[in-house]
């Protein structure tokens, strides 16, 4: 079922900038108003909080002990609640707007990355680890989300509270106000260095945790081997080593925390107490009122303790900046233009393929294919034979424009391949791989995966029957709705391949690329797959990457490749009649088959 792609009004490519801060600012596009409002709300909330202390001052100095003012007591009590409501309301507003911004940015980024990655060329995917891409698309996006949702906003809050409270204190009494923040720069600097060290120690700890997980996973997936070789003691020791190292790193991290928090508590506490003492003396001397003392005692807390957190936030925000850089690295890479091409026929291809001196090389490496020339009429079958690395896969990969040929001419139906849009070509070409990739969806969804329309059940079943998989599917717990993969049934290699054949049958392409790999399945399955493949190949131009002679025998043209060049070409009978690789392979395989059948006969009888 094809769903309309959401329209991204804003191409994140525009956020790329040499300056990381500019990049983050551009990420905010579309949310700047909301984020500005979130910051302003914080300011209002901070003012309200300080207002509470100033009200307390008024209450102590003018209302308490003043019989005439007692009538206003309920109003003052109400004003306390009112200020709290004001503060709470704006805190909430700010939080909500920040969440709106951060979640919105994260969602836009997730969608963008998902789409961007699936449109990146193979040359990119070949040199990039899947785990790394996933890590960037999830953890780094989340780090960026936290940057906007929590860190930047919390840092803003602390800064605003500091500014508002300090101004209020200075207004109350300049000397007291300035005295109270004497230690603040020291706290900020110390905390900054501490959190920087802690974040490194934490990374080391996480690294060890990941290492431990890997050790564990390797042991569990290879448990049969471990047991067969009686290596349990060795494995135990290995795991214990990693486990102990993790404990050690955890202890180190905790020791750092155990020293920092009480030490900075003492620093902050000493400043606080000195302030209390000075303010108390000033009150006794009549320099400030008792109400001012109380307001001071309330506000000064907001000047000192949050400073440790400001330093922590600054350190955390720097990881957010790093994450942004890691995400931007993906965004920077150019996508494959799928729809670009001068020639897009209305109907299907006929399937005539002509290679003329085609050459191909991966970026910056030596030639992979050179001087490939042959011709194939619609509906014909071309078999490719050769050792690993001889260029068979590279050759067929050129057809759907997974890679671009670097020399010569490649024409389908007389039109240069480069002139077809990639999407058009890929709809016309079907591929059945050696190890077909199935998605963890139902069998039905896997079969209909390549067709962008609703497919009636009969059609699915017809394809499945032709692919000799229908009977197997019906035997599953929920038939065609059975999930494939970890959460459902595990399919054998042969079953997967037949599902892939059904998938390709339904897609009905004009050109087929088959990776023949019936070698790993038993003879019964092999026969079923062979029959299914025959039905699939009917009337389509077919390229077979072959490993075994029987597959090749019926091809219209056999190409033997070696080192990226065609070294032999012809039909089976032609090639068998001349000396060369083909005849050698044929003889070796025939001998093996004969030996096996003799052995079976001897054992069974």
């Amino acid at each position: 079922m094809a769903l309309p792609a959401p329209q991204h009004a804003f191409d994140l490519k525009q956020t790329i900038s040499a300056s990381r801060l500019v990049g983050l600012w551009r990420m905010l596009t579309g949310f700047r108003g909301a984020y500005l409002l979130a910051t302003l709300s914080l300011g209002v909330a901070a003012v309200s909080k300080t207002g509470t202390y100033l009200l307390l001052r008024r209450f102590v100095d003018h209302t308490l002990g003043n019989a005439e003012a007692m009538a206003s007591l309920p109003w003052i009590a109400l004003a306390f609640v009112g200020l709290a409501l004001f503060e709470g309301g704006f805190t909430f507003l700010s939080g909500r707007l920040a969440a709106f911004t951060a979640e919105g940015i994260a969602r836009r980024l997730r969608d963008y990355l998902f789409d961007h990655i699936q449109r990146l060329p193979f040359t990119y995917h070949d040199r990039t680890q899947t785990g790394d891409l996933i890590e960037r698309s999830t953890s780094d996006v989340d780090a960026l989300r936290r940057f906007f949702a929590d860190q930047a906003i919390a840092a803003g809050r602390i800064t605003l509270l500091f500014a508002v409270n300090l101004s209020a204190l200075v207004m109350l009494n300049v000397k007291l106000g300035l005295f109270s923040i004497a230690v603040v720069p020291l706290i900020v600097v110390l905390s900054y260095f501490f959190f920087r060290r802690v974040s490194k120690a934490y990374e080391a700890y996480q690294e060890q945790e990941a290492k431990l997980s890997t050790t564990l996973q390797e042991n569990l997936t290879g448990v049969r081997v471990v047991k067969a070789f009686a290596r349990q003691a060795y494995e135990r020791e290995k795991f214990d080593r990693d486990n102990w190292e993790k404990f050690r790193r955890g202890r180190r991290l905790l020791r750092m925390h155990a020293f920092f928090w009480p030490a900075s508590d003492v620093l902050c506490g000493a400043q606080l107490l000195a302030g209390f003492y000075l303010a108390a003396l000033m009150t006794m001397d009549g320099q400030i009122t008792l109400g001012t003392y109380l307001a001071y005692a309330g506000m000064v807390v907001w000047l000192i303790f949050p400073m440790r957190n400001l330093a922590r936030l600054i350190v955390q925000m720097s990881t957010g900046v790093v994450s942004h850089g890691r995400v931007a690295e993906i965004i920077k890479v150019e996508k494959e233009p799928l729809a670009e091409g001068r020639h897009e026929p209305v109907g299907p291809l006929r399937g005539e393929v002509v290679f003329e001196n085609v050459a191909f090389a991966y970026d910056g490496s030596g030639r992979v294919l050179r001087d490939i020339s042959f011709r194939c009429e619609p509906g014909q079958t071309v078999a490719l034979l050769g050792a690993t690395g001889s260029g068979k896969s590279s050759l067929v990969n050129l057809l759907p424009r997974f890679y671009e040929y670097t020399g010569g001419s490649l024409r389908i139906d007389g039109v240069e391949l480069r002139d077809y849009p990639r999407h058009y070509l890929r709809r016309q070409i079907g591929i059945v791989e050696q190890e077909p990739f199935l998605f963890s969806r139902s069998v039905r969804e896997n079969i209909t995966y390549g067709v962008g329309r609703e497919v009636p059940q009969e059609e699915i079943e017809a394809a499945a029957r032709a692919a000799a998989i229908h009977d197997v599917v019906v035997g599953f717990p929920s038939g065609y709705d059975t999930l494939v993969g970890e959460k459902g049934v595990t399919l054998s290699g042969g079953q997967k391949q037949r599902v892939a054949i059904a998938r390709t049958l339904l897609k009905d392409p004009r050109i087929l690329i088959l990776d023949d790999s019936t070698s790993s399945v038993d003879t019964e399955t092999e026969a079923a797959i062979r029959a299914a493949l025959d039905r699939l190949m009917e009337g389509r131009t077919t390229f077979i990457i072959a490993h075994r002679i029987p597959t090749v025998m019926r091809a219209d043209l056999i190409l033997v490749l070696e080192g990226g060049e065609i070294v032999q070409r012809g039909t089976h009978s032609e090639l068998l009649s001349q000396p060369g690789i083909y005849r050698q392979i044929y003889q070796v395989q025939a001998r093996i088959d004969q030996e096996v059948s003799q052995e079976v006969d001897r054992v069974v009888t």
């Binding site: 969602r107 955890g250 108390a280 791989e433």
Partner: protein, 406 residues
């Protein structure tokens, strides 16, 4: 065991006494550490309340009384206690933290060693990912419960308790007013936390679906490209990311509402204190320092109350984790040596099968009455279709899957 047993059910955690006792037993070898951090955190909690009381004394006995020597005495005591508290904070962070790491280490080691003993049949029906989660995240949760969970709840309850005690000492009538508001505060906090936690669970579920989706689309990118599925896949993905957006946004703004809501309730308490306290102060029954102390105590109580629901939910998770971990540890290996089995050091390699039966599932024999003899000189081969059969016989003789009577 069916596949459904491996679903990550997060809330099977009904707190049952037996499991909790067994969890606590994990800390028994280190009971001195536990006692150490519980005592120090109690000291810290008491001191926090006492600091506020000293703040009141600075006002009442120092400033209001105009007594400079009293002021100096109170401030000196305050300063000394700051140092004592620093030592206490150091002790409980170190003890609880290191103990948590230690319990994790112990549990993981025990589980790993145990996993080496379990039979192939156990691995046949248990996904590796499930086992990984038990050894990694579940042990972490258990360790957290025995250390920080225990510490947080002790600290929280003590904070509320000591604050109430000091308030009662200062002014019992006003303390009653605060006590009346306390249940409302608890109720509001619990309701909020329940909803927020539910949203966060939804976020985690959405997140793992999104990760799976990335993983599949990247590993299967060849098929995606070959079948030109890009647009349809983006459509499906953006539904997932939309789900995540909604849960995540909801969780975030509920959290943003939570603190102000709790503060509002406490503001009502504050307003009452100002009103009644003001009336009492005019009648000479309440000091200004007293009013200030009440305001501080109400703030002091807020933190643990806000946190209570979270700590409780984490305890539930930890209990669920513990149940799974203990189930794994309690699994007996199916292949066990006969009593008195000895290790000959090396064997010559003559293998005899005599009437060997074997099954994976009762009633479905795989091998029946197998007999065969092999000589060390010759590599014996089993030919069969499908080839599975011969591999089974081999694993059977290696002692990985035990022969059973069919």
């Amino acid at each position: 065991m069916s596949l459904h047993d491996f679903d990550e059910e997060e809330h099977s955690g009904r707190v049952t006494g037996r499991t909790v006792l067994r969890i606590l037993a994990q800390a028994r070898p280190h009971w001195k550490w536990v006692l150490g951090f519980l005592l120090t955190v109690a000291l810290v909690s008491f001191q926090d309340a006492f600091f506020t009381y000293l703040g009141k004394q600075i006002i009442d006995e120092g400033i209001a009384a105009g007594d400079r020597s009293a002021l100096l005495r109170i401030v000196s005591l305050y300063g000394a206690l700051i140092l004592v508290q620093a030592v206490a904070v150091f002790t409980f962070i170190y003890l609880a933290g290191v103990l948590g790491e230690r319990i994790q280490y112990d549990l993981r080691r025990r589980m790993f060693d145990h996993l080496q003993e379990l039979s192939f049949s156990y691995y046949d029906r248990t996904p590796v990912g499930w086992l990984m989660a038990r050894v990694t995240s579940d042990t972490e949760r258990i360790a957290q419960l025995v250390t920080w969970g225990l510490l947080d709840s002790t600290w929280g309850l003590l904070n509320v308790f000591t604050a109430m005690v000091f308030m009662t000492i200062i002014n019992w009538r006003l303390a009653l007013v605060v006590l009346a508001i306390l249940p409302i505060l608890l109720l509001v906090a619990a309701q909020f936390q329940k909803r927020i936690l539910a949203e966060f669970r939804a976020v985690r579920r959405a997140n793992s679906r999104i990760t799976a989706s990335y993983n599949e689309n990247i590993t299967g990118v060849r098929v995606v490209k070959a079948l030109a599925r890009e647009e349809a896949n983006l459509g499906e993905f953006s539904r997932l990311s939309g789900d995540m957006y909604r849960s995540s946004y909801r969780a975030a703004w509920l959290s943003a509402l939570f603190l102000p809501a709790v503060q509002m309730v406490s503001a009502v308490a504050l307003g009452s204190v100002v009103w009644f306290g003001g009336v009492q102060a005019n009648a000479g029954e309440m000091t200004i320092g007293g009013i200030q102390a009440f305001i501080a105590y109400i703030t002091l109580m807020l933190w643990p109350i806000q946190d209570l629901a979270r700590v409780y939910a984490e305890m539930q998770h930890a209990v669920a984790s513990a149940e799974r971990v203990f189930a794994l540890i309690d699994t007996r290996p199916e292949v066990v040596d006969r009593p008195g089995a000895s290790d000959p050091g090396s064997v010559r390699g003559r293998v005899e099968f005599e009437h060997v039966d074997f099954f994976y599932e009762k009633g479905k024999p795989v091998l029946r009455d197998s007999a065969s003899r092999s000589n060390p000189e010759r590599l014996s081969r089993w030919w069969g279709r499908p080839a599975e059969e011969s591999r089974r016989s081999l694993t059977c003789s290696a002692g990985s899957t035990s022969p059973k009577a069919a």
